[in-house]
């Protein structure tokens, strides 16, 4: 087994573990962490795919996709955290 395939499989397992986390957790912060982990799993699958080409040089397109994906994921995470803070504050005000 090549290390690219191994890491792809690890990515698949991460997605599965995170899927369990998203369903089984109930705190939004934990769900958010699980979603980030799921994203990491998906990225790992993608980068694993980039290596499965003949030749030494990996395919740059999945790399670019992952870089874009990371930016999108961090932006969404940061917004989700802002939303969570706001919600917690409103809950506190309303008692």
């Amino acid at each position: 087994m090549s290390s690219a395939l191994w890491f792809s499989l690890v990515g698949a397992a991460l997605v599965a573990i995170a899927l369990y986390g998203v369903f089984a957790e109930h705190h939004p912060l934990r769900r958010l962490i699980a979603l980030n982990m799921m994203a990491s799993g998906v990225f790992l699958v993608l980068i694993g795919l980039a290596r499965q080409l003949p030749g030494r040089v990996p395919d740059p397109v999945p790399h670019a996709m992952v870089l874009t994906g990371i930016v999108v994921a961090v932006s969404a995470t940061a917004f989700a955290l802002a939303l969570l803070r706001r919600l917690s504050r409103v809950q506190q005000e309303e008692g």
Partner: protein, 304 residues
């Protein structure tokens, strides 16, 4: 005998899985956050092993740095949030079963994946506006994606701002120790230097706007966390223009090329490298300011 390379990869993969599990099973939110930071660190090592230094750089900046700060910054409020009731045992069993099925499906798909036709990169790369393949994809072949990515960044900031009730200045950081101050004083020049270095490298080697912007954002957040500088409000003055610079520059370049040659983002011959550098500069500023704004939103005086 197993080679050390293989052993390293096996151990790294297994620790990722174990850590993922421990993160989800953590008793407190703080534990979950800390485990997730370590998870990011191991992810960066995995990118290295997969010959993806660009992604490793990004992960080192985001996973090991930025996400941790963001999570820890929200922890205080998150702990006080009221949440829905925990799901029942049958729900958990169902979740476990679907996770298992998903894994089996994915594993089967990945193992049986047929070889795919390669992209015509050999012919295209010499014509691209950047030497480094990943930068060429990001800012030339698939520049349209990157334009929209900068829109996502700006949108996230706007979305976070729209949550706030009042436009009051951010609350000053609590008084901090001399140790922190001198540390920050020491680190700031280094951060700015490395950001410039990463940006410059991006044209021909791993690195680029995203990594540089994140380092700058980290420097800015450090400034906010220490009380070296009065808190500044990114919603006032020229800051919004700076925040939007990456997006607006990108749109301007797209419209300019549209008017010049009839195809959006088709750089004129000879001008590609300069335009890409311009776009990278704008993106760096947008990324840095967006992360700083996202970190500091919701911490206004009126809000906390």
């Amino acid at each position: 005998m197993i080679s050390p390379v293989l052993l390293f990869d096996l151990l790294l993969g297994l620790s990722l899985l174990w850590l993922a599990w421990r993160t989800l099973a953590a008793h407190t939110l703080f534990e979950a956050c800390v485990s997730f930071i370590v998870f990011g660190l191991l992810m960066a090592l995995s990118w290295v092993r997969l010959d993806a230094p660009d992604v490793a750089l990004a992960e080192a900046a985001v996973g090991a740095g930025l996400t941790g700060v963001l999570l820890l910054g929200a922890l205080e409020r998150a702990e006080r949030a009221r949440v829905e009731a925990a799901p029942g045992p049958w729900w958990r069993r169902g979740a476990g079963l679907s996770a298992l099925l998903l894994f089996l499906l994915l594993a089967a798909a990945l193992i049986t994946l047929p070889p795919r036709p390669p992209l015509p990169l050999q012919e295209a790369l010499p014509l691209a506006a950047a030497e480094h393949p990943v930068t060429a994809v990001l800012l030339d072949f698939r520049a349209w994606d990157t334009l929209l990515e900068s829109a996502v960044l700006v949108l996230a900031v706007v979305a976070a701002w729209s949550l706030e009730r009042s436009v009051s200045p951010p609350r000053p950081a609590p008084v901090c120790s001399e140790v922190l101050r001198s540390l920050v004083r020491l680190l700031l020049p280094f951060s700015i230097l490395s950001a410039g270095y990463l940006l410059w490298r991006g044209g021909h080697a791993p690195g680029g706007a995203f990594q540089a912007g994140t380092v700058l954002a980290a420097a800015g957040i450090l400034l906010l966390l220490s009380d070296l500088r009065r808190p500044f409000d990114l919603r006032r003055g020229y800051w919004p223009l700076a925040l939007l610079s990456g997006l607006l520059l990108f749109i301007a370049v797209a419209l300019g090329t549209l008017g010049y040659g009839g195809t959006a983002l088709d750089y004129p011959p000879g001008g590609g490298a300069a335009l890409v550098l311009l776009l990278e500069l704008g993106l760096t500023v947008t990324i840095a300011l967006a992360f700083i704004a996202l970190f500091s939103s919701g911490r206004s005086r009126g809000d906390e």
